[in-house]
């Protein structure tokens, strides 16, 4: 047996780390997956390469996040390894050692936003974003697409790339009216400088294989085709599975494998998925085989019953309508943007972010400079009920002179009597500066 595509695998179950003893994100989450992967002999297959994860560094994290009070306070070893595992896979792909790769790491990351006061949705740092910014910095990659197939809306990744026209973020997830984190509606399409590079496809509960594959064929693949990314990343959450204890979808291992085969991501990163016995062992085997181009037709859950999870006509219709709605909205993006921007120099948005895992509330005001030259400099004024007050300024990777200058000015003006910390993330110079009270 031989892989048709050479596939790198970081498998790091972190058997000695848990959020808490009975938390879904606990030691044995990948135990049965490891059993299945080992028993199938997958690591012996020619063309499948197992890689040991490296540790991400504080520098890697600071390219993406404003950690409050600092990186050390937010991350445990497991986070450095999870993000490092993604880096390892990405490096193998970018250096041509493998054609594609899968970082089977934990804990996940897609709920972590640009400013981080603690853990939310089991996530502390956004491991995909840390990886993407590392490869952009190291290998000069520009256009990247992240397709988030976790059942929960990837609100952290969306937040980080909201203003970036070079990162296409597509999330398909269970409708936010029925599931954490409650966002990800079709109308969320990106900030003023990047309208249309965020795409949300909320799906009704009880969506099955048929529905997911329809979304992929009708919306995801055509948009990817149009965007022409150099790299496709899949945030491969597995909680759309019919047996997942914290969601209400009806996806299956065969479906995940098919989706992977159609999407052909360069890098897949494990996100959520908490049916650790009944789903993860089979879904992960399916994804690995599909990535590597190996026959996955025999992969199936022991209790798989297609009749029991068949999608109702009503769900099918709802999904078809959502897809058309998403496509129509995209059509109007250009026009909308002009109306939206007319005469504006800055656009502001305010929001409250709840850190469910650490029980923290953050009040945030984000200001972006409307810019036709670059992604626009961003300022985040963020106050958490921990008492920490942050002013974070992000000068984007390809910032124009004006935006970069304004960023420095905002940083200089940042008053450490008012803020506990003032941070400047200058991606042009690849620098991170902090002023403290």
């Amino acid at each position: 047996m031989k892989a048709r595509r050479k596939t790198g695998l970081v498998f790091f179950p972190a058997f000695d780390w848990a959020i808490s003893e009975t938390h879904p994100e606990r030691e044995e989450r990948l135990l049965y997956t490891q059993d299945q992967v080992f028993e199938e002999g997958i690591l012996d297959i020619e063309g499948l390469v197992e890689l040991n994860p490296e540790l991400a560094t504080a520098r890697d994290v600071e390219r993406v996040h404003f950690c409050v009070p600092d990186v050390e306070a937010i991350l445990t070893e497991s986070h450095y390894i999870a993000a490092g595992g993604c880096k390892t896979v990405a490096e193998a792909v970018l250096e041509g050692k493998v054609d594609c790769g899968f970082a089977l790491v934990r804990p996940p990351g897609h709920h972590a936003m640009r400013s981080v006061h603690g853990a939310r949705g089991f996530c502390n740092i956004n491991i995909e974003a840390v990886m993407v910014e590392h490869i952009r910095h190291t290998y000069g990659v520009d256009r990247v697409a992240i397709v988030d197939t976790d059942c929960h809306h990837g609100d952290g990744t969306q937040n980080i790339y909201w203003h970036d026209p070079d990162t296409l973020f597509i999330s398909l997830h269970q409708d936010g009216r029925t599931l954490y984190p409650g966002s990800g509606f079709a109308s969320e399409m990106g900030g003023p400088n990047a309208l249309g590079t965020t795409v949300n496809i909320p799906l009704p509960p009880m969506t099955s294989k048929e529905g997911f594959l329809h979304v992929l064929d009708r919306v995801v693949l055509p948009i990817l085709e149009e965007f022409k990314p150099e790299l496709i990343i899949n945030s491969a959450g597995q909680d759309n599975h019919y047996s997942d204890p914290i969601t209400a979808m009806n996806f299956c291992a065969q479906g995940y494998a098919k989706l992977t085969e159609k999407l052909q991501p360069h890098i897949a990163v494990l996100e959520g998925g908490y049916s650790i016995e009944g789903a993860l062992p089979y879904v992960n085997v399916g994804i690995i085989l599909a990535l590597a181009g190996i026959d996955y037709s025999w992969v199936q859950e022991p209790n798989y019953d297609p009749e029991a999870i068949r999608q109702s006509d009503e769900v099918t219709r709802a999904i078809a309508n959502t897809c058309e709605h998403v496509l129509e909205q995209r059509q109007q993006c250009g026009l909308k943007r002009e109306q939206y921007l007319a005469g504006k120099e800055f656009v502001q948005r305010s929001k409250t972010v709840f850190y469910d895992t650490d029980n923290i509330i953050e009040e945030q005001k984000e200001t972006v400079r409307v810019c036709r030259e670059c992604a626009g400099v961003i300022k985040i004024d963020s106050y958490a009920d921990t008492g920490n007050h942050l002013l974070g300024i992000c000068v984007p990777r390809k910032a124009c002179g004006a935006c970069q200058k304004l960023g420095s000015q905002w940083f200089d003006e940042g008053n450490v009597k008012r803020y506990d910390l003032v941070c400047l993330q200058d991606r042009v110079l690849d620098q991170y500066q902090v002023k403290r009270k």
Partner: protein
């Protein structure tokens, strides 16, 4: 007195040890076509004039199973595979009689689909009509629950001469390797069983009445009675014999490399604190990955008789061998000729060696001595490159816990022990090239036979406890018992050591010399909803490869 015998590709070595003293050693030519004679005559020659009753132990290491597999002289095996969901089982097809049948067990050992008796019997009828006499029965996750393999055995065993059960070849997870291992075991089971029985018969006739022991690839021994059931474990015991023979010379506080330099190849092994490293899962044999426990050795095509020539102006050594050295009448220049030219090796036709070096020296535009040195140094650096590559691979072995990843337990060998024909002559060169302290044991030419003689019996057990389902089991050992919800990991470790002790005893081990160690001990809470319903405990323990008492205790 104890006797050790190692059959090599060219030579067969035998030693007889009395205490720490070698009282007899014999080197003879191996007759691949008559291994029985090679083995028996080897032993008889070595003990000539001694009292056979005084012999307490005979251990043999042969190429029987290895050659049978490499040369395709194995017997047909009918293999029934109950796969269930996962990788397409047809991808693992092996041999001419491979059948995928119904029946499935999941990762926790729960039955998903039963064995279909009629389907299995039908396959058996077909196999019988084709005169297949060996059977291998394998199910996925059989090491979690062997009931499907046992069910098939109960249905079929009477009609076949040997039956290999997947869960008995290893306690490790890997269905693909379990299939290959069970198949290869079946393919050599009868050959191996009959051969060692014949050896034992010959020994008895000569008055050696003690049970025969056979060296395995992991550097341990097993009783002759197991030679059919575990036949496949005897493959590639040769490199293991050599490594075991050097163990008494290794530094118990150091990480060292063992090099066995032969005519064609050099075998490389790593010894850490007096214990040889094992392969993570098992050896690769005849194109198949297996679960056969084996010492972690690699073989490279650089030896005393390797072909030396220029290719595009670059000096090349090996991997081909064209024959013996020029100095010994061979056709092409070799590293041995360089050693002869430099007077490091004395003997042979020095003039022929010098002429060969001279021809190469002219092409290189260098002096004869300089060229000879370049050849030896090139050979040594090729060996050291392979050593470093092996060390790197060992250090890059995947880990799955944060603790292990951060601990970064890497090895950094700093010493070399060299054995084999040119060991003594090449050692100073290796030391110069590597900068590592290089030592040559006094009996370096028969280290392999010594290794066989003094290797201890080894084995491994895997014990699994699932306290939510209330059982503890070691399917490989046919062990199943109840266990309480609150059972601790210590309790399971205790069970593992008890089973290991029994198994070692059954395989012929000296019960006063069982160095038992844990290879794996992990424990996970099993949570359903938000409640802990039990614990999943996994323990793997082994008798460490090592030397029988008193050889392991001090440097010879």
């Amino acid at each position: 007195m104890i006797v050790g015998l190692d059959v090599g590709g060219t030579h067969t070595d035998v030693v007889v040890l009395q205490g720490r003293e070698i009282v007899s050693k014999v080197k003879s030519l191996t007759d691949e076509n008559n291994l029985l004679q090679t083995v028996c005559f080897g032993v008889f020659d070595a003990i000539r004039g001694m009292d056979p009753q005084a012999i307490q132990r005979v251990v043999v290491s042969t190429t029987l199973a290895t050659n049978a597999i490499i040369q395709g002289k194995t017997e047909p095996v009918g293999i029934l595979v109950a796969s269930g969901p996962g990788v397409n089982p047809h991808a693992f097809t092996i041999g001419d009689h491979y059948y995928v049948v119904g029946g499935a067990i999941d990762h926790r050992g729960q039955e998903i689909a039963p064995i279909n008796d009629e389907e299995v019997l039908e396959v058996a009828r077909k196999l019988r009509s084709e005169n297949v006499r060996n059977l291998a029965l394998v199910s996925k996750f059989s090491i979690r629950n062997p009931s499907h393999e046992l069910k098939m055995r109960d249905l079929l065993a009477d009609n076949f001469e040997t039956v290999t059960l997947g869960h008995q070849v290893s306690g490790q997870l890997n269905f693909a390797r379990r299939i290959a291992t069970a198949y290869l075991n079946g393919a050599v089971a009868r050959i191996s069983g009959e051969f060692y029985q014949a050896v034992h018969g010959c020994m008895e006739q000569e008055g050696i009445k003690i049970p025969l022991e056979i060296l395995k690839a992991d550097g341990g021994t097993m009783a002759q009675a197991s030679s059919a059931q575990y036949a496949v474990e005897t493959i590639l015991s040769g490199p293991a014999a050599s490594v075991m023979g050097t163990l008494a010379f290794t530094d118990p506080d150091k990480e060292e490399v063992v090099l066995d330099i032969g005519g064609t190849t050099t075998d490389i092994a790593i010894v850490v604190n007096g214990a040889p490293l094992l392969k993570p899962l098992g050896i690769r044999m005849g194109g198949y990955n297996t679960l056969v426990r084996a010492l972690r050795t690699v073989s490279i095509g650089v030896g005393g008789d390797s072909w030396v020539r220029l290719e595009n102006g670059d000096l090349k050594v090996g991997p081909e061998r064209k024959g013996r050295a020029l100095a010994y009448g061979g056709p092409e220049l070799t590293p041995t000729d360089a050693l002869v030219t430099l007077d490091t090796v004395r003997g042979g036709q020095k003039q022929r060696a010098i002429e060969g070096i001279h021809r190469l020296a002219e092409q290189l535009g260098k002096g004869v001595e300089e060229t000879a040195k370049a050849i030896v140094e090139k050979s040594c650096s090729l060996i050291m490159e392979a050593v470093n590559a092996l060390v790197n691979r060992v250090n890059q072995q995947p880990v799955y816990t944060i603790h292990e990843l951060l601990e970064d337990r890497t090895i950094q060998p700093s010493g070399i022990i060299v054995i084999g024909g040119p060991a003594k002559e090449i050692a100073p060169w290796l030391q110069a090239v590597s900068g590592w302290q290089t030592r040559v044991p006094s009996e370096y030419e028969v280290a392999n036979a010594i290794g066989a003689a003094i290797a201890r019996t080894t084995c491994e057990v895997t014990v699994l406890a699932d306290t939510s389902r209330g059982y503890v089991c070691a399917p490989e050992e046919g062990y199943l018992d109840k266990i309480g919800k609150e059972a601790s990991k210590q309790r399971v470790v205790q069970i593992a050591f008890d089973l290991l002790r029994k198994k070692a005893h059954r395989l012929g081990a000296d019960k006063n010399n069982l160095e038992m160690e844990l290879l794996e001990d992990s424990e996970f809470n099993m949570v359903q909803g938000f409640y802990t319903v039990g614990r999943n405990i996994r323990v793997r323990a082994q008798i460490k490869p090592g030397l029988i008492s008193p050889y392991g205790e001090a440097v010879v």
